[in-house]
């Protein structure tokens, strides 16, 4: 995934919801957009988005509110062994 973010592993956003932060991220690295979102603009299901240690699915999904110091993580499935 980092090949689409100029190898950056983290990104600071002022977005106050998961949706806004992701839009901010994709706006900065436009090639990343296709990897994260499907044709309908929804998050692809091999990716997990966490706010702190909680899956956004157990919170308010992409509408989950973020504070200034919240850490949002995008976790892709990997399969190597």
């Amino acid at each position: 995934m980092r090949k689409f973010t100029e190898n950056n592993a983290s990104f600071d956003s002022t977005g106050n919801t998961v949706q806004a932060a992701l839009a901010d991220l994709v706006g900065t690295y436009d090639l990343l957009g296709k990897q994260l979102l499907n044709e309908e603009g929804k998050l692809r299901s091999f990716l997990k988005v966490y706010v702190g240690d909680e899956d956004i699915k157990a919170l308010d999904g992409v509408d989950t509110a973020l504070k200034e110091d919240t850490v949002l993580s995008i976790i892709p499935a990997i399969a190597g062994g």
Partner: protein
């Protein structure tokens, strides 16, 4: 009830003197049957620790043979094992480590046809495989047969670990792989270790953690990593433990289960379809390139690998990495045959499709099998990687 010999008491003494583990924990290990799928990077430490710890019966599923490129991380094997089936080489080594256990080997690829049959005989499965179809297959088989699945996966510097389908003391069942990742990534998006590489110590770390979870579940000591996903980044030493919850939409055991048998996992992961979707490109084989080289006829050879790969071995092609190919379009000839190559032929085919689609080239040929085929058939002195 299993009795221990005098030698076994001595061997397991460091377990026996841990108060919460003790003779009962050791007895449970001895009576347990664990299936390890994949005797590779993760399987190496996993198998060694399970054997050393005294798990009574260990099954090993692996269809592959030991290769030189395995030895950077698969510390179960030595130079003398190269060319031998992994399952056999592993068994030999593990019985040297602990002759008081049973090792069963399955020198075959686990599939929808044999998975239930093989897994049925075991108490627990440890998944150390290296691809998405097999990950989903093992998950589904474990849910259908009601077996816990201790899962780890690795890529480059990153590792993931969890315990799936575990039923706790209160009888509450934990999530499984489909609760975490309902669908696999589209083929080609997430590279395998063979394509993207892996730091050699990483499977040592994750495989050891996996062994620890197996031993905890079998002995009943500690709290298994069920309902949690552990992430480890070896490059930054960041570790995180995230929550995993059951998904009501899980097709195996959600609110409305729709899947009651194993499926075609290649198809589920989009493999097979992908090749049909990708348009074929014109090809030249390594003999053909050799002819051109001998005749010295006007042609251009372009290498779309990365500079660090070029440094290992090259064919004197012009180096234009795949990511830069469309920007370097002015460097690509239109008036003669252009041969494009990479390591095995995948990236060069992608480069050709991009150049044809975006810039209308019609003189591009993919070197079939890439530099690997050239090394095998034309110049065996070239290092392969």
């Amino acid at each position: 009830m299993s009795a221990f010999s005098k030698e076994e008491y001595k061997r397991y003494s460091r377990h026996l003197i841990i108060p919460e583990f003790g003779l009962e924990g050791q007895r449970r290990l001895k009576e347990s049957r664990v299936l390890v799928v994949g005797a590779g990077g993760l399987g190496s430490p996993l198998l060694q620790y399970l054997a050393a710890a005294g798990v009574g019966t260990i099954g090993i599923v692996d269809f592959d043979v030991v290769e030189d490129s395995n030895l950077q991380r698969q510390v179960l094997f030595g130079v003398n094992d190269v060319g031998k089936p992994k399952a056999d080489a592993a068994r030999e080594r593990l019985l040297q480590l602990n002759p008081y256990i049973e090792i069963k080997t399955y020198r075959e690829r686990i599939s929808s046809e044999n998975a239930l049959e093989i897994i049925r005989d075991y108490d627990l499965v440890a998944d150390g495989t290296d691809n998405f179809p097999t990950r989903y297959l093992i998950n589904d088989a474990c849910v259908l047969l009601d077996k816990p699945n201790v899962y780890a996966s690795i890529f480059r510097f990153e590792g993931q670990l969890s315990v799936f389908n575990h039923v706790d003391e209160q009888g509450v069942r934990g999530p499984n792989y489909r609760d975490l990742f309902p669908e696999p990534p589209p083929p080609g998006l997430v590279p395998s270790c063979a394509e993207g590489g892996v730091i050699g110590v990483l499977p040592g770390i994750l495989g050891s953690l996996q062994a620890n979870e197996v031993i905890k579940i079998l002995s009943g000591v500690g709290e298994p990593l069920s309902g949690r996903l552990f992430l480890f980044d070896a490059a930054t030493f960041q570790t995180r433990t995230l929550k995993v919850r059951r998904d009501p939409d899980n097709p195996l055991n959600g609110e409305n289960p729709t899947q009651t048998a194993l499926i075609d996992y290649q198809q589920f992961c989009g493999i097979g379809n992908a090749e049909v979707e990708e348009r074929a490109v014109k090809e030249i084989d390594v003999e053909g390139l050799k002819d051109l080289q001998t005749r010295g006829e006007g042609y251009q050879l372009i290498d779309v690998r990365e500079p660090y790969e070029y440094e290992i071995a090259h064919l004197d092609g012009e180096l234009i990495p795949l990511g830069a190919v469309t920007e370097a379009v002015a460097k690509i000839a239109r008036d003669k045959q252009v041969i494009i190559h990479c390591r095995s032929g995948k990236r060069s085919a992608k480069a050709i499709r991009q150049l044809e689609d975006l810039y209308g080239f019609d003189n591009l040929y993919n070197l079939k099998g890439g530099i690997l085929a050239y090394a095998e058939q034309i110049n065996p002195a070239l290092p392969v990687y």
